[in-house]
């Protein structure tokens, strides 16, 4: 499978990274190089093999569904590039 300029643009869009039109051919090239490297995986017989989901055979620990934290509005907002009146501020989302 090879990545053309349209696919590169679509991937950039999905990743929410602005890539200038002029840089798309180079991006497509680089992605193709990496994808070609991954194609080696097609040589492996994976029939009947379960995909690995957990590194150690353990059930993820669960805890009781209760509030354990909170009331830290100031700390939560402290690093925000734009926080107003206790909220994160962003450009208009709804027209």
């Amino acid at each position: 499978m090879s990545i053309d300029i349209t696919t590169a643009a679509r991937v950039a869009k999905l990743a929410r990274i602005a890539v200038p039109q002029d840089d798309l051919p180079k991006l497509a090239d680089e992605l193709n190089g990496i994808i070609a490297f991954m194609e080696q995986l097609n040589e492996v017989d994976v029939d009947g093999v379960e995909p690995m989901t957990s590194v150690t055979p353990q059930r993820l620990t669960r805890r009781e569904d209760v509030v354990t934290d909170g009331s830290q509005q100031e700390a939560v907002l402290k690093n925000a590039p734009d926080a107003r009146e206790g909220f994160f501020a962003v450009p208009k989302v709804v027209e």
């Binding site: 696919t7 992605l31 991954m38 080696q40 995986l41 994976v46 379960e50 995909p51 620990t61 590039p81």
Partner: protein, 493 residues
């Protein structure tokens, strides 16, 4: 007396106990060494005030007689760890100005044990790189040098390796997703341990690939690694993959007696085009373990060849998901937006400005392999191959093998900038011997064993059974004793 900053953890601990030195003296020696180390670009955020306060407290605690081993030991902390109130930006522009409001579990445990924080260390951006050249802080530089060229300290924990090798600190924290502790340790002639996945909490450590990331110690000796791991390890309810296992006394495991231990030599690690010097080092290391009484057995790990391609599917996939949080809303950099730009444009511009080229590349590769239509062909296939790689190891351990000996890196440290024109895959090959260990979740340690003919350090890697870091460290200790590596870089910085 030798310069105090050249002490390792064990030496410093013993000297502190005897009352020969104070933590303040050790700390001042390190702070002085850091001050004149600008050319190495290892420390990127210095915290001398915190260090002096912690050192004074440590001295009081040692005097009172209730001090753990790590008490009073000055450390460098990789920039990937969140440390409350101290800038931490994972060497990325996108986290510019970020000061975490909380402390990572590992650093909290180290401070609780009385350790001293000297500052934050350079690294590759979001731990993505093998040469410390993707950092927003600029390249970290290896204190080892053989000609006019500046050499890479490796990556991603390049600043940690450079700082420990140059005696700017007694030891440092590192993190390892595909080799990021072991490769820089080998390039800088120090010891680097990646523990079993789940041994150390990931909470508060900026995530790269969550199923592979594991933090560990980077130290001047195997004994130091054992001591420091003891303070870093342990169950943490805040990390759901943290293992509920007691932390053994790793240092007590260092007897140096490896008689009867079975050491596996995997034939698949004999790579085509491998430099003769690496081959020789590996043979020498094998002979050292044999002389120490170990039984050497040839083993096969048949899927080794597929580890790197599987890793470069799984790691970017997880990264693309983890790094989605950097959107210019909650922390860090936000791009200036133009008139009429909405929130999508803000995300796109913020991420284009904030992420460097390698991070962008990996996020996009991850996005691609997870996108509709390719998920099965790439991501699921890679996860199946990962199962096979893990099974390779389980099979040899089931045959009674205690540890596996391999080279740590395919070469000695290379020059900064030398890989600039190479395609990204060439750089990825640095991880060829280390990445299998992350995929299988095993503990692995790099130990300096010799110098190449130019005079640069070379390391070997030992891979152990899951949760048996004590046994692994003991084998590493025997190798260290036999190799007798004592070379230090000549000071030029």
């Amino acid at each position: 007396m030798t310069d105090l900053n050249t002490f390792g953890i064990a030496d410093a601990r013993d000297a502190l106990r005897k009352g020969d030195v104070t933590s303040l003296e050790l700390t001042e020696a390190c702070l002085g060494a850091i001050e004149t180390s600008g050319a190495l670009n290892a420390f990127v955020h210095n915290t001398p005030e915190i260090a002096r306060t912690q050192a004074a407290a440590a001295d009081a605690r040692i005097k009172a007689g209730d001090a753990p081993d790590m008490c009073g030991i000055p450390l460098g902390i990789k920039d990937l760890f969140c440390t409350k109130g101290v800038p931490g930006q994972a060497a990325s522009r996108i986290l510019e100005g970020f000061k975490p409001e909380y402390e990572s579990t590992i650093t909290q445990q180290l401070w609780d044990a009385g350790s001293v924080m000297l500052g934050k260390l350079n690294m590759d951006e979001f731990a993505m790189g093998s040469s410390n050249e993707t950092s927003v802080y600029g390249d970290a530089v290896n204190p080892w040098k053989v000609d006019d060229r500046k050499l890479t300290p490796g990556g991603s924990s390049g600043g940690s390796a450079a700082a420990v090798a140059a005696d700017l600190c007694m030891a440092a924290t590192g993190t390892d997703t595909g080799g990021s502790i072991r490769q820089p340790a080998a390039f800088a002639g120090i010891t680097g341990l990646k523990p079993t996945y789940g041994r150390c909490s990931r909470w508060g450590v900026v995530a790269f690939a969550s199923s592979l990331d594991q933090a560990g110690p980077m130290t001047k000796s195997v004994r130091d690694a054992a001591i420091m791991l003891g303070a870093m390890a342990g169950h943490d309810a805040k990390d759901s993959t943290s293992a509920e296992l007691a932390v053994p006394d790793f240092e007590a495991a260092l007897t140096g007696d490896i008689r009867g231990k079975k050491i596996g030599i995997p034939k698949e690690y004999r790579m085509e085009g491998m430099p003769q010097e690496i081959e020789q080092l590996w043979a020498d290391g094998t002979a050292m373990l044999k002389d120490a009484g170990a039984e050497i057995v040839d083993i096969t790990l048949p899927h080794t060849k597929y580890a790197l391609p599987a890793y470069y599917v799984v790691a970017p996939a997880e990264a693309s998901s983890n790094l989605a949080r950097y959107d210019g809303v909650r922390f860090g950099h936000r791009a200036k937006i133009g008139q009429g730009d909405g929130i999508t444009e803000m995300y796109e511009k913020t991420r284009a400005e904030g992420f460097g080229p390698e991070v962008q590349r990996r996020v996009m590769i991850g996005t691609y392999v997870l996108s509709a239509g390719f998920y099965d062909a790439y991501y699921n296939r890679a996860r199946k191959v990962r199962s096979l790689i893990k099974k390779d190891f389980e099979d040899v351990f089931a045959q009674g093998v205690d540890a596996i000996l391999t080279p740590a890196t395919p070469s000695a440290a290379f020059g900064l900038g030398e890989m600039a024109e190479a395609d990204p895959v060439q750089m990825y090959l640095n991880d060829v011997f280390t990445v299998t260990v992350n995929l299988a979740g095993l503990p692995g340690i790099a130990v300096p064993v010799g110098l190449d003919k130019q005079g640069l350090p070379l390391g070997l890697q030992l891979i152990g059974r899951p949760w048996e870091e004590g046994d692994l460290l003991n084998t590493a200790y025997a190798l260290e004793q036999a190799a007798g590596f004592v070379a230090k870089p000549a000071k030029w910085w």
